[in-house]
Symmetry: C3
Subunit: 337 residues, 3 copies
């Protein structure tokens, strides 16, 4: 796509300094952009590139506008402005509307005429697929699934029986939604399976990263709220709920029946125990270990970052002796009294 700077300025609500007729056809980083690209500055670490960039235009905040040697689009939130600009320049393509002849479709399934069902897809019975939905190649959609309008399954996605997907949801390859939760009961040394009869409900405007798994509920449903964004390789256990507009980075594991609030941000590699509650507005830094409910908004952390291995060895030993050290200090105190 190609847009003039005047058009982009108008669409994103920025002030244009420079050539209104300049045509932009792509995006680039400040370091690598060419004359037809637009770039942006959101991280001050890259500020020194403003003077030397070859970009045809840079999106900058008012404070940085004077530094720009090329055309500038000036706006307070440059990252949001960049998101909107890039979406103008790279609109999502939809090709090959209709049902590919190799797709296998069950009975009593309703597929909107505007939907695309790609090659090698398998869709079960009693499935409902909304307007403008794209089902990419190799996806498996089991019986009773419903997918809202404008949603997109990229490829090799598996939706198990009766899973419900909202509108404008985007699901990346390898995602599995609605596999059985990990419900077992120990019967004299053997494990009995607990049938998992709940389902999974995914809200509107959710994005789910590659190879993430979200298990179906044991009795009630697992629920992912509107606007939630999930990165890759996340595991969400049965009967969890995730509140609206919460974002979760890669490799997070959430055990069953835990409720995450709205507007949370969970760092990558975090582990969250089951059967707990996380309040709205909680931020967890990467690799956090959460074993109890968090009742107040705020930022929480755990984990001790790396040291040279020799020092690590020594500190681990000292850690193991903490209780003794504590006792020694107590004794010293009482002897001083």
């Amino acid at each position: 796509m190609a847009w003039t700077l005047a058009e982009i300025a108008s669409k994103i609500g920025a002030e244009l300094i420079g050539d209104a007729n300049k045509v932009i056809t792509g995006v680039g980083t400040l370091q690598n952009a060419t004359a037809d690209d637009i770039s942006f500055l959101a991280n001050s670490k890259y500020r020194h590139y403003l003077k030397e960039t070859a970009a045809g235009c840079v999106i900058v905040s008012p404070a940085d506008a004077a530094e720009v040697s090329t055309n500038a689009l000036v706006i307070a939130d440059t990252y949001v402005a960049y998101a909107k600009t890039a979406s103008l320049l790279y609109p999502e393509e939809r090709t090959d509307i209709g049902i590919h002849p190799t797709a296998v479709i069950g009975t009593d399934t309703v597929i909107a005429d505007s939907a695309k069902i790609a090659a090698q897809v398998v869709i079960g019975t009693n499935v409902s697929i909304g307007e403008n939905v794209d089902i990419g190649p190799g996806c498996i959609i089991e019986n009773g699934v419903a997918i809202g309008a404008d949603s997109r399954l990229m490829a090799n996605v598996t939706l198990c029986r009766k899973v419900r997907i909202g509108n404008r949801v985007r699901i990346h390859p390898g995602v599995v939604i609605g596999a059985d939760g990990f419900g077992i009961a120990n019967d004299k040394g053997h494990w009995l399976k607990i049938p998992q009869v709940g389902s999974v409900v995914i809200g509107d405007d959710v994005e789910i990263g590659a190879n993430t798994t979200i298990d179906r509920g044991a009795i009630d449903d697992t629920i992912i709220g509107n606007g939630v964004k999930l990165d890759n390789q996340i595991q969400i256990g049965h009967n969890c709920t995730v509140g609206e507009h919460t974002v979760i980075a890669g490799c997070v594991g959430i055990a069953g029946s835990t409720h995450i609030g709205a507007n949370c941000a969970i760092g990558g590699g975090t582990g969250i125990a089951g059967h707990i509650e996380i309040a709205d507005g909680v931020q967890l830094t990467g690799m956090s270990m959460v074993t109890k409910s968090i009742t107040a908004a705020g930022t929480y952390s755990s984990g001790i970052p790396i040291e040279p291995t020799r020092e690590w060895h020594r500190n681990v030993i000292r850690y193991r002796q903490l209780d003794k050290l504590h006792d020694k200090v107590k004794q010293l105190e009482s002897r001083l009294k």
Copy 2:
């Protein structure tokens, strides 16, 4: 399915207090059950719901029976009783027995007449598929694989060459069994691949969660014992063995050639080093870090749960100073002497 309370009581061995002819058609939580549902109390935290539940029946322990305001099935282990009841009400469905016309089957492969091979499945040569096996859509079964009776691959599962699966095994979508182990040798700065010529043997009554991976052995086989239950997104390295009836929660990683005992319970997110032994009956809490063999049954833990980020920063600094603190205390002690 529908069962009377008299029938359920008889099947699960519980004492019935109430209407023997009451018909139950589903399960529900104490909070959400309707009059046709059966519910249960296994976690005392939910005890207060007993009086107000709308369930048609509740499975309770003798100690709680007096609290129930509806019909009750009284039995010591309510969770096991619930597992059995739910399995009565929601028996596994098997439809479309036979081979779907889009499935591709190799030569010298034997498939029981009672098996189901779904759409878009690919099965190699010299494969053996037992009675009542269900191979879900999109599964790939490479040459020489054997699958025992009554096993079920849900969808998009990959079984690599010569993998052997026992009876009554249940494998969820996205699982990969028998990919090459991570075997490499450094030849003057370049890594040479070690051919992985062992396989994977999965015992009877094993369940394997979505997107879990189990690598084939380098020379001998990787072995998963009977009755093992694996949650989602677990990684089991080459030549590991997992003892019977051990359960492993989500996101656990086990490096190569480690032997896990029988009847262990491994918490989610745990990491276990390679070439070690874990005794029978070991319990590891979530996010444990295991670097050495564990020689005795018992419960083990590691990791420091979250704190507010400001306190975390301070404690990390103090942790780094532990060795110095230790020395100071020693000096104080000697000065006091």
Copy 3:
């Protein structure tokens, strides 16, 4: 395959002690090898098996040669010699060259005559597939992808649009390369998607383990260098670069825009923050937590291994009191002065 010991000795550059005409047809561990197998000793822990092994030959270092009771191939680096020997005995099979009739191939796609496209594969438009490439069953290859010669996708692999794969690359089942990076901008409480317009470039001789995910770049490409070896279930964020001959063990997560040097070795379960740099030659032990750049080669570690749960509880409490303990020691010191 079958080779005489004379042939193997010549191919791997080892000195043969014993029967030059002895025919070897497989490999075995020292404990389990049979008379037609070759074995090796690389880990001194298994040295005591040398005298009792039933193997037809053992690859040993000069120091161990005298201990061998059977034929011996003597060479300094026994593990590299074993890698080469096993590759002779188990060469990669290539069968069914050509395009399976169930594969779906887009327009303007070029596939070498020597390539194999297995059943149920979907290949988009403008794809290029090199000589001797094997695309296993169920793989999805989106528009504009290029795959170099002698590369192999095992099964159920997804390569998203425009991903470029080098020569002699090996990709295991369930891998997803080129899914969108996790790029979002917060617009007054709602998250806007940042279009991910970069791609992924995989170098030559790379191996990628099962269910690993490598995201496409936001603007520039994500790059995996030549000779990199990745284990299973790794997550590599958008715009990361991984230097040549670096090896990464299973379950590692690397956040976006991080640059890993060459010849690094990253232990399993490690988490690495975004926007940092790891120098060449860095080794990280398992479950390391990396929050800042590492500027010098060397070995780094973090994490506190397990203890019995009761002791763990006590030490966690003591850890939380570290700051207070520190103050107490300071007070003691000043009182003593």
